[in-house]
Amino acid sequence: MSSYEARFQVWRGDASGGGLADFTVEVNDGEVVLDIVHRLQATQAPDLAVRWNCKAGKCGSCSAEINGRPRLMCMTRMSVFDRDETVSITPLRAFPVVRDLVTDVGYNYRKAREVPAFVPPAGLAPGEYRMSQEDVERSQEFRKCIECFLCQDVCHVVRDHEENKRAYAGPRFLMRIAELDMHPLDAAAEKGLDRGRAAQDEHGLGYCNITKCCTEVCPEGIRITDNALIPLKERAVDRKYDPLVWLGSRIRRRSS
């Protein structure tokens, strides 16, 4: 087993200011960036603030930006860096900073509340739900989401334009709408709720310019853009812009 000393720049500070602090830390075989942060805490900076939980890429707590790229610290192996490279670790830059590597991710929890929940179908008791595997698979892909909010962080719509946070739900929650809209038993329509239309009118789907950074950073490999966002856009087109659908509905209306 080999170990070496690596150079790090870790952002330290809080809402009132801060900067990159230099550290030299021991790195051992097979370690990930989060191990290094823990070693820093244990040996050099006991009050270094960081969120983490499972350390296995399942909870999505340890999101940060490593060499400027949004990543999970527990899933970034040190072996991907050159030994003489200085590795920078900063908090997520799309959200207000709290302290050191911890940011205020409240934006995401606010947006989660704005998406209407699953509407259970009337007349089906618990235990009576029947769904085919092929019908649940699309939504299941989106439910792999560990809510690390890296997609929300990287999305330039809010990362570079704070003012858009009001109108734009971000990839994670647009994907949540897609998940519900594709749920084989969701009864939102029966309640008069058009999820596809709401995505465009209320959750800012139009802000997305499908530049795919959300998909690029997703640690779960969810194809957010291709499988959730674009299908949602297509559903909006169905309702508003498709000439044939429009014609069809006109004809049907006339004949009925």
């Binding site: 006991p46 909870c59 769904m131 989401c145 809510e147």
Partner: protein, 651 residues
């Protein structure tokens, strides 16, 4: 001292994992204004790590399954030490709890006819685990989280405030359960009055006053070095209950999951789900032998295959073949692996080989075990479709916990205190079956929320009062680490990280998977030393999001819980389930009906005055309630003979 923010709630739930969230949903739906407190962000609880599934006898995969069979499996798995009424309620109610999740939007994997698919797991006679690939825990948490959001949306529609009746206080830690001081010595004596805690982000203290508190904080794994548990698992709820005067039950039973990763060191302990074995993975030693056939204990002889051929046939034809011994209960498999490694037949990094690569095509592996594939690829650079995994036992779960009433989840001895999930004891006896924890969370989470709400309603006009003295004591205790440098107790301030590492090493080495009397005595000795040093644990910086401070406070809990484990383990002179004594290797029927209860030596709850050498914990024995005859009748006489003492059999 600054004025501490106080709020009034009906029910406070400590912990936002499966049990906590399920309790909160139930309490809110039964009309109680409910607050949930969690150490992490909402939706990050350790429950997300559960991979295999939720055990529930829905009989979707095998029509012969029923709650009785599930009950039987659970009792066998727990070696008949289970609080049988809990096991019964659990087996009866689990299917309803799973189906209910579907009405909240959960999407389980499906059978051909559109029902919930169920998979095989160790110790379960039939395929019983409802699952979503290998991320069932995530599905569970997300579903409950989204149900809470939907309840908040309802409240917002009605009141304009999302948090009017159900609020999540995320990134907050509770350090004390407060007591009612309204009428000293009267009927209210000892009743719960609320909780004291701090916001991690700001370091500010707060008090939530409530007549009912549900503790659902999970386990204690962070007291051990090699563990599958996350940082939150510092035994907070166990310690809170102890300090509030509630006893802990059978704390010696700690489950070591047989298959944790062993390499690289930084991921040592991370879980390799049991479904790897359920779906066909086999264990081999360095001689390429499927060694589990040599480790089938007598009590399980009739249920498990004797040859590789029979075991392999079982995957396709479980009706006519016996199951492979890789699917024995976890304690058996963990011990077997431990023995193989000890005999020098281990893998290069001190584990054994778990192989799926020669058992099924690469594409099937990737489809059925996506997150395992991912985990090994990313963390160990191992392609599990091409080579075997190296695995070894890892501290996974504590069967022991707060002693509770089976039906109500009420903690014994402290009115108003409830406990559910891993932090509650009894349900799993001496060993938990895989898949039974997620169903446990749902069944008893619901029951805890239900009875907490009912209890709180009963006190609506006699709400507890919490006096300032208690709050001041709790604040002083929480601030102590900041003054460690100035207080001038003997010796320099201690680094909490160092203390934690030493604690983990001690528990791992001396109270680990195989236990010996001398080592445990040594452990108690070291724990006493650590306790003294922990009083000098000092921190740098200020109160705003300071992990050093948080750890210093968690040390108290880990030390208390570790002492419980060590003392109880020393006391129980037999091997049963998650407790293996090298000096008492056999299961002793005389211990079958004995519970060990841990209580605080100083019932006042102040730890300062405790004698460092004698420790903080006192043990008592109690005899368990006999199993109800109709439940006992579910077993064959020949089987009961192996577990029960003569007099129990003929009663």
């Amino acid at each position: 001292m600054s004025v501490v923010d106080r709020q009034e709630w009906d029910v406070v739930v400590v912990g936002a994992g499966g049990a906590g969230l399920r309790a909160a949903i139930e309490a809110r739906e039964r009309g109680a204004r409910t607050a949930v407190i969690c150490k992490s962000l909402f939706g990050k609880a350790h429950t997300v790590m559960a991979e295999g599934g939720i055990a529930a006898a829905m009989a979707n995969a095998n029509e012969h399954d029923s709650w009785q069979v599930h009950f039987r499996d659970t009792m066998r798995g727990g070696k008949f030490l289970n609080q049988w009424r809990m096991a019964e309620l659990h087996a009866r109610e689990a299917p309803d709890r799973v189906w209910e999740l579907e009405t909240w939007g959960a999407l389980f994997d499906r059978t051909k006819d559109g029902r919930i698919s169920q998979r095989n797991f160790g110790g379960h006679e039939y395929p019983r685990l409802a699952h979503v690939g290998d991320r069932t825990g995530l599905e569970l948490i997300r579903t409950l989280q989204q149900k809470i959001v939907s309840l908040q949306q309802e409240d917002a529609e009605r009141t304009g405030d999302h948090e009017a009746r159900l609020k999540v206080f995320q990134e907050c830690t509770v350090t004390r359960i407060l007591k009612d001081t309204a009428s000293e010595g009267g009927s209210a004596a000892g009743r719960v009055g609320g909780v004291f805690g701090y916001e991690r982000e700001t370091g500010r203290f707060f008090v939530l006053e409530a007549p009912a508190v549900v503790v659902a904080t999970g386990g204690i794994g962070k007291s051990f070095k090699v563990t599958s548990n996350s940082w939150e698992y510092t035994g907070d709820g166990h310690a809170l209950a102890l300090l509030a005067g509630a006893p802990l039950l059978n704390m010696e039973f700690v489950q070591f999951h047989p298959t944790g990763m062993v390499w690289p060191p930084s991921v040592k302990g991370i879980l390799v789900t049991e479904s790897v074995r359920g779906d066909g993975g086999v264990l081999r030693n360095s001689e390429n032998k499927r060694f589990m056939f040599d480790y089938v204990p007598d009590v399980f002889k009739e249920k498990y295959a004797e040859s590789e051929e029979e075991a392999d046939r079982w995957y396709d034809d479980p009706e006519h073949n016996r199951r492979p011994p890789e699917l024995l209960p976890r304690d058996e498999v963990a011990r077997a692996i431990n023995a193989e490694v000890k005999e020098g037949r281990g893998s290069p990094h001190g584990g054994v080989f778990l192989d799926v690569s020669t058992r099924m095509p690469a594409e099937v592996v990737r489809r059925r075990l996506p997150s395992m594939y991912h985990q090994f690829k990313e963390l160990a650079d191992v392609d599990i479709t091409a080579e075997a995994m190296e695995v070894g036992p890892t501290c996974h779960y504590v069967m022991g916990g707060i002693a509770v009433e089976s039906d109500t989840a009420a903690a014994r001895g402290v009115p108003g205190l409830f406990a559910a999930g891993e932090v509650a004891g009894g349900m799993h006896g001496s060993n938990r079956l895989g898949g039974n924890s997620l169903s446990d969370l749902l069944v008893f989470g619901r029951r805890a929320g239900w009875h907490a709400a009912q209890y709180a309603r009963g006190l609506a006009d006699r709400r507890p009062r919490v006096d300032d003295a208690q709050v001041n004591t709790a604040s002083a205790e929480a601030l102590r680490p900041f003054s460690a440098r100035t207080e001038g107790e003997a010796g320099p301030p201690e680094n909490p990280y160092t203390l934690h590492q030493e604690l983990q090493q001690t528990m791992n080495d001396l109270v680990g998977i195989i236990r010996r009397e001398g080592e445990m005595e040594q452990a108690l000795h070291r724990l006493a030393e650590l306790r003294v040093r922990a009083r000098r644990a000092g921190v740098e910086g200020h109160r705003q999001f300071n992990p050093g401070w948080h750890l210093a406070l968690d040390l108290r809990n880990m030390l208390l819980v570790s002492e419980c484990v060590a003392r109880a383990a020393l006391e129980r002179t037999e091997s049963r389930g998650g407790h293996t004594r090298e000096d008492h290797p056999a299961m002793d029927r005389g211990w079958r009906n004995v519970n060990l209860l841990c209580a605080l030596a100083d019932p006042g709850g102040t730890l300062a005055g405790t004698d460092p050498a004698r420790g903080q914990i006192r043990l008592t024995r109690e005899t368990t309630e006999p199993v109800r005859p109709d439940l006992l009748a579910l077993f064959e006489k020949e089987e009961l003979v192996k577990y029960l003492a003569e007099e129990e059999l003929y009663e």
